[in-house]
Amino acid sequence: MSALDLGRSASSSPQAVGAPGSRRSGPGRGAAASMHIDWTLCDGRGLCTELLPELLDRDEWGYPVAVGQPPASRSDVTVPPELVDAARDAVALCPRAALRLRPLPLPLP
C-alpha cells in the first residue's frame, strides 16, 4: 500500500484529473474519467495492469489491453468513478509517463 500512497502524493502532473491544483477544473471524486495511453511512450512495464486489473489485461508482449472496451476506447480507456483513484496512481507511477487522466475522451478526426 505504500506504493499507492506514494502514487497519490506524486501525482503532480498538471494534466492529472483531480490532482492537487487541478481539482477545480477537472472532475472531482465520484466522476468517471478517461485514461489516455500514449503508445509511443509505453514499453509494457505492466505497472498499470497491476494497479488496474479490473480495467487492464496484458497482451503477450506485456502491453496493456483495455478489458471489454470498444476499439475506440482502447487508447482512451473509460475509468468508472470507483477506479479513478487507482487510475490516478497508475498515471503517477508509470515509469514511462505514458498515461494521463482526462475528464472526457476527445475523439479526433
Binding site: 489516455h36 503508445w39 509511443t40 514499453d43 502491453y63 476499439p71 482502447r74 487508447s75 478526426p109
Partner: protein, 446 residues
C-alpha cells in the same frame, strides 16, 4: 502513370465563368502551365477567401480526399477560430496558423495526387492560397515526395502570388502522409505519426493552429471558390457530390505490391463521381469486371468488395456493408485466377514492414499477424491459423497512436470474410487460384 488523355476542348469565356461542364473538372486545362490554367479557370478568386468560403464549402459538402472523408469546412472553420483566438493581445502573432497541402500519398497503389500535382499544380496552389487566406495563416507549405518537387517548384515560379509557399519533401513511406507525421516533417523531424490529444487545428506545427489538407481537397476547393456549391453539386451523388480522383490498377497476374512497383507507376487515374458504379470505374480502365474475384477499395487499409456488389455506386453508404470507403480513391482488381489470401498476405507483410515501430502492439502484433496469415496463404493446413489471424487482428485494433494497426486489421478482417472460401480450401490443401469462380461446384461458389 497513365491518365485518361484530356480531350482538347477549346476553353471558352462561358466555361471560364460557369466552370467546367461534365465530370472533367480537375484536369480540364489543356496542360499543366499557368497560362492554360488561367485560360481554363480564370484568375485566383482571392476575394472569396474568408467566412464566405467556409459557408460555401459547407453548402457544397466537400469532404477530405486523403482518405478520412472529414468535412473540409469543419477543419477550416476550426483552424480559423483557433487562429482568431490567438491573434488577440496575448498571442503577439506567434500563434499564427500554418496551412499544409499534403501531397504525400504513401499508399503504394495511389497515383492520383502525383497526377494532380503533375497535371494541375496550379489548382492545388490556388487552393492552398485560398485556404491560407481563409484561416489567416502566415505560412503555406506544400508537402510532396522528391520526384514531384521540381514540377511544383516550376509551377510556383510561373506565378507571382505564390512566392511565400515553401516546399517540404515527404519521405517515400506508407505513413509519411498521416497528418501528425506531416506536421513532424514540416517541423524538421522524422515523418512518423505522433500521439495526439488535441486536434492539429488547435496545435500542430510548433504549437500553431495547423490545417493539413490533401492536395485534391485543395484543388476541389479552388474550383468551388470560383464556381460555387451549386456547380459543385451539379454532378455526383446527393450524399457525395462533385467528382473525385481514383487510381485503378490490377486485374492481371501481378500481386498488389507488384502492381505498385510496376515501372512508371501502376494504375490509371480517373475523375469519377459517386453515381458511377465500381463496375463502370473498373471497365473504364480496360479491366473486364467479369474476370475478377474481388476489388480492393480504399487501398491497403481498405476492404474487398466482391462481384455481387460491383453495381453499387462508389459511395460510403453503398460500400458500407463491405466495410469499404472510397477514401483516397484506390481501386485494385483481383483477377479470378488469383488467390485472395495470397494478395491479402502480400499486403499485410508490407504493412507490417511499414510500422513506424513506435507503438508496442503495432511493432509486435503486425509482423506476427503477417506471419500467421502468410502461413495460411502459403498452404500451411494447421487448423488454428484462421482463428489466430482473427485474434491478432482484434488484439491490435485501437491500440496505436495512429490508425495503422486499425487499418491493417480492417484489411485482414475483410480478407477473411470475402475470401472465406479460400480459407476453407487452403485448410483442405487446395487453392481457388486458377479456378474460375464460375466453374466451382455447388457449395463452393459464393
Amino acid at each position: 502513370m497513365t491518365t485518361l488523355a484530356p480531350p482538347s476542348v477549346p476553353s471558352s469565356e462561358t466555361d471560364r465563368r460557369l466552370g467546367p461542364q461534365g465530370v472533367r473538372r480537375l484536369f480540364a486545362a489543356a496542360d499543366a502551365s499557368f497560362a492554360a490554367h488561367l485560360d481554363t479557370f480564370g484568375p485566383l478568386p482571392r476575394g472569396q477567401a474568408g467566412p464566405d468560403l467556409v459557408a460555401e464549402l459547407q453548402r457544397a459538402g466537400l469532404d477530405g480526399r486523403g482518405g478520412a472523408h472529414f468535412a473540409t469546412w469543419r477543419k477550416l472553420s476550426a483552424a480559423r477560430a483557433e487562429h482568431q483566438v490567438r491573434r488577440g493581445p496575448i498571442g503577439l502573432g506567434r500563434g499564427r496558423a500554418v496551412v499544409i497541402a499534403n501531397g504525400a500519398e504513401g499508399e503504394p497503389l495511389s497515383r492520383k495526387d502525383a497526377a494532380l500535382l503533375a497535371l494541375a499544380p496550379h489548382l492545388v496552389i490556388d487552393g492552398l492560397l485560398l485556404a491560407a487566406a481563409t484561416v489567416g495563416a502566415s505560412r503555406a507549405v506544400l508537402y510532396a515526395t522528391a520526384p514531384l518537387l521540381p514540377g511544383v517548384r516550376s509551377a510556383l515560379r510561373e506565378r507571382t502570388d505564390a512566392r511565400d509557399v515553401t516546399l517540404v519533401e515527404a519521405p517515400d513511406t506508407f505513413l509519411s502522409g498521416e497528418a501528425s507525421a506531416v506536421v513532424a516533417a514540416v517541423e524538421g523531424r522524422p515523418a512518423v505519426p505522433a500521439d495526439r490529444v488535441v486536434r492539429l487545428t488547435a496545435s500542430g506545427v510548433d504549437g500553431r493552429p495547423t490545417l493539413v489538407q490533401n492536395v485534391e481537397t485543395l484543388a476541389q476547393l479552388a474550383l468551388l471558390a470560383r464556381y460555387g456549391a451549386g456547380w459543385f453539386r451539379s454532378v455526383g451523388a446527393a450524399a457525395e457530390p462533385g467528382t473525385r480522383l481514383v487510381t485503378v490498377s490490377g486485374g492481371d497476374g501481378r500481386s498488389p505490391l507488384e502492381s505498385a512497383r510496376t515501372p512508371g507507376g501502376a494504375g490509371r487515374v480517373l475523375e469519377v463521381t459517386g453515381t458511377m458504379s465500381l463496375r463502370r470505374i473498373v471497365e473504364a480502365t480496360g479491366i473486364d469486371p467479369a474476370r475478377l474475384r474481388a476489388v480492393l477499395v480504399g487501398g491497403f487499409h481498405g476492404a474487398w468488395v466482391p462481384p455481387e456488389a460491383f453495381d453499387l455506386p462508389f459511395t460510403r453508404d453503398a460500400l458500407e456493408p463491405w466495410g469499404a470507403v472510397p477514401g483516397a480513391g484506390i481501386v485494385w482488381a483481383l483477377a479470378d485466377d488469383r488467390c485472395g489470401l495470397a494478395a491479402a498476405a502480400d499486403i499485410t507483410a508490407y504493412l507490417a514492414g511499414q510500422s513506424a515501430r513506435q507503438c508496442g502492439p503495432c511493432l509486435n502484433g503486425l509482423p506476427r499477424l503477417a506471419d500467421v496469415l502468410g502461413r495460411l496463404a502459403r498452404g500451411d493446413r494447421a487448423t488454428w491459423l484462421p482463428g489466430e489471424v482473427t485474434r491478432l487482428a482484434g488484439l491490435v485494433t485501437g491500440r496505436g497512436s495512429c490508425h495503422h494497426p486499425d487499418g491493417t486489421a480492417r484489411l485482414v478482417f475483410s480478407s477473411l470474410q470475402v475470401f472465406a472460401d479460400d480459407v476453407r480450401q487452403h485448410l483442405e490443401g487446395r487453392c481457388l487460384a486458377g479456378v474460375s469462380s464460375t466453374s466451382t461446384g455447388p457449395g463452393e461458389s459464393r
